[in-house]
């Protein structure tokens, strides 16, 4: 499959997950926390398609999500691309590839992503982000993303078949 077709499929996956996130998951709250499927998609993209493609896909998905919230535009995209890149880099350094790594990286990446979001948001002047509820947010988002990591991996492997994640020197 040529790269254009892969990215076209990647775009379809982003659109599908975005609709799920905005329309289906919008009304679902677990302990008052809304699952963040777009962050999970980005992280799993990093794991499945490598750090570079994962970062680009995570950036695009999170930027789309940023259109529908009133927090600084690009903040989620910044966090998502960094976390997806890290997840992809860690995955590429695992030899041999472990089956459990996808949900574990999705969970750890989600916790990191939520904390990073709150930290950068605080730096940008958003008040009241670094509080105890952040733990609940991170835990819920991590659990949901870990649970959905394998289904997300399946659709992302459909979009990026046979992709060998590019190794990044600092993680090898």
């Amino acid at each position: 499959m040529n790269p254009e077709s892969a990215w076209l499929r990647g775009g379809l996956v982003v659109a599908f997950v975005f609709i799920l996130h905005e329309a289906l998951l919008r009304g679902i709250r677990i302990d008052g926390v809304r699952p963040d499927l777009l962050l999970g998609l980005g992280i799993v993209a990093g794991v499945v398609a490598g750090p570079e493609r994962g970062a680009v896909l995570a950036f695009g998905a999170a930027l789309l999500g940023d259109l529908f919230v009133n927090t600084p535009f690009g903040l989620s995209a910044l966090v998502a691309c960094v976390v997806a890149f890290l997840a992809g880099s860690v995955q590429s350094s695992l030899r041999p590839t472990q089956r459990w790594s996808t949900p574990v990286l999705a969970a750890v990446g989600s916790v990191l992503g939520e904390i990073l979001w709150a930290a950068v948001g605080t730096v940008l002047g958003l008040p009241g982000l670094l509080h105890l509820h952040l733990i609940a947010i991170a835990v819920v988002v991590a659990v949901v993303n870990a649970a959905l990591a394998w289904p997300l991996a399946v659709v992302l492997r459909w979009a990026f078949p046979g992709v060998t994640p590019t190794k990044v020197s600092s993680f090898t």
Binding site: L24, R26, I28, R29, G50, E52, G74, C81, V82, S169
Partner: protein, 322 residues
């Protein structure tokens, strides 16, 4: 150690993405560019899809909501049954209190809503983010709603509009950590600022006069001082507690919102802005209302398209202040 082109490219891509993000954030926070308009158009464009998918998948969503909120629903049920019994017992007393309340309101000139025109709206979505306490309503600039307008529900203040698109608006609720409102406590007329502490938490009140008498259960209404983004006399909350603070000559006063912000269905947007009010009564000297200099609501000059105006529609402190 030399880094090959193959391994350096991902890092270069990441760097580009980070720089792009930082550029977008800077543009948005500084209020430049067309990001507010882009957001409004995106919401309006996606709204039909969202409605269609939401209505199709509502049974599924309701099922999961029921699963995840079972304990809460159970306790709500028990609590409501208890409240029903209490309410029936208090019905007769309420009739008396209603008359008393009317008399006191007349005395205090509590012009809650009064002749201010309102736009009724339905709450169509809860918080859009885990880090902001907001709701989305189904009326926007097409219905005359502007950024900064106060939003009320049956019994009192809900919050204010912070972002507007032609068909929808986002309302920042009182309990958001960045929200604050000038309040006046009845019957002592003590004035202060009530600040949000997050969803589900009480409002924290800072009194201008720390020695002012405060009674638990007394009602706080918007002070409506000059420059305030809220008209005077809208009920905000009831004093839940006034505990002396150790080491300082002050008390930790907390307010319980009169409106149940967790279960909003319909709200009224007051077609009222401080700017318009200020222009109408320009002869009144400013007394340093509770609104920060940069946070007074500003009415966009045109009504067409997205009415977010030139101000950023983000939740930076300057845009969502009191």
């Amino acid at each position: 150690m030399a880094v090959s082109r193959r391994t350096a490219r991902p890092r270069f891509t990441l760097l580009i993405l980070i720089l792009a993000s930082l550029t977008l954030i800077t543009l948005d926070v500084r209020g430049g560019g067309s990001i507010p308009g882009l957001r409004g158009r995106a919401r309006d464009l996606f709204s039909p899809v969202q409605s269609a998918v939401s209505s199709t998948t509502r049974p599924l969503t309701d099922f999961f909501s029921g699963v995840f909120q079972y304990q809460q629903l159970k306790s709500d049920n028990a609590r409501l049954r208890g409240q029903l019994a209490q309410l029936q017992a208090q019905q007769i007393q309420d009739q008396y209190l209603q008359q008393t309340n009317k008399d006191l309101s007349d005395l205090l000139k509590l012009d809650f809503v009064g002749d201010i025109p309102t736009v009724a709206a339905r709450v169509i979505a809860g918080p859009e983010s885990n880090f902001q306490v907001t709701v989305v309503i189904d009326r926007g600039s097409g219905s005359g709603i502007l950024k900064g307008m106060p939003v009320v529900a049956g019994s009192g203040l809900v919050g204010r509009v912070i972002a507007v698109s032609p068909a929808q608006s986002t309302v920042l609720l009182l309990t958001d950590a960045s929200a604050s409102v000038g309040v006046q406590l009845a019957p002592t007329a003590a004035v202060g600022v009530a600040s949000g502490e997050g969803a589900g938490h009480l409002l924290d009140v800072t009194l201008f006069d720390p020695n002012a008498p405060v009674t638990a259960g007394s009602v706080a209404v918007t002070s409506g001082l000059a420059g305030s983004p809220y008209p005077r006399g809208i009920p905000v909350g009831k004093v839940a507690g006034a505990v002396p603070e150790v080491g300082v000559k002050a008390r930790a006063v907390t307010l319980s919102p009169v409106v149940d912000l967790a279960r909003l269905s319909y709200v009224d947007v007051l077609v009222w802005t401080a700017q318009a009010q200020g222009a109408a009564s320009s002869s009144t000297p400013s007394t340093g209302g509770v609104s920060g200099a940069g946070s007074a609501p500003s009415a966009p000059s045109t009504g067409g398209g997205s009415s977010s105006g030139s101000s950023p529609s983000t939740s930076t402190p300057t845009s969502v202040g009191p």
